[in-house]
Amino acid sequence: MVDPEYDLIDAIARGDGDAFERLVKRYQNPLFSFIYRYLGDRQSSEDLTQEAFLRVYRAAARFEPRARVSSWIFRIAYNLVVNEIKRRRRFLTFREDATQAAAGITGSSHFGAAGIDEMKEEIAAAMAELPENQRAALLLRVDEGMSYREIGDVMGLSATGVESLIFRARRRLKDTLKRD
């Protein structure tokens, strides 16, 4: 089935600013949420979300409709996040990263979100401690409802590789829940 969003990318490539705005509005929150769960701070996540959209805008003319538009956009964001994490690792230890990301996931440090029960905090902290590729695969599946093939397009993996990542992520989180 042809992705109906190909037309949107075509329009952006022809310089249609309204089409670009429609695309941004459609993806801004899923993309921001995905990035925020990694970085754990709002400003960096906003900056990276904006950068992802600017790259989409600049690359629209070169887009090849081999994958879904959503996979392409998330791949751009995923690569940016991975690079940002690598950059941060030069300055932070993994533990600090994980703690910071956990704070972002639970929302307690920046948003003061109320009503997040203990179990959710546990799972949020456990999510933050997952290897990045497992976390990305699980989030793309559970939050974005992507198929294994689409996730593979985002992360540059086979469907079997994605299955393995998601399986390991769930098993680890399940063990966390079981311990409580």
């Binding site: 801004q28 600017l54 996931i105």
Partner: protein, 132 residues
């Protein structure tokens, strides 16, 4: 299907990513095996917990800001990279020097014109100049 085989594919089964024949076998196995069924339920609970985590939203006006930045960058073009900034003048001088000996040479070749975003510091400019 053995329990170990079912447990290996249970995550993919939950995502409806197993082949139809395998899905049928797992489904029948779960009907008769409480251990695997419990495991399946635990996996589902994990998903529910993840889905229950807060989702974050960009601030109001974010889209307008991104569109405006994109339009500005389209008007001004990409910023020069570090290499172009550092060596651009040097490469331009080399090109001028070559032009002294080949004043009739065209300024650019078709080969490079195909790539509008090639920086002026790119050695290929000098290379094509020599070729021509």
């Amino acid at each position: 299907m053995k329990c170990s085989e079912v447990l290996e594919r249970i995550s993919a089964y939950l995502d409806d990513e197993t082949e139809p024949a395998v899905s049928g076998e797992i489904s029948r196995h779960l009907d008769g095996c409480s251990t695997c069924r419990t495991e399946f339920e635990r996996f589902s609970e994990v998903d529910e917990a993840v889905r229950g985590l807060p989702r974050y939203e960009v601030p109001a006006g974010f889209a307008a800001r991104v569109v405006s930045t994109a339009r500005e960058s389209a008007l001004t073009g990409p910023k020069p990279g570090l290499t172009e900034w550092a060596f651009g003048p040097l490469f331009a001088t080399i090109e001028e020097f070559i032009r002294l000996f080949r004043p009739e040479a065209p300024h650019h070749t078709n080969a490079l014109q195909e790539f509008g975003d090639v920086p002026s510091s790119f050695m290929g400019h000098a290379y094509f100049r020599i070729l021509n």
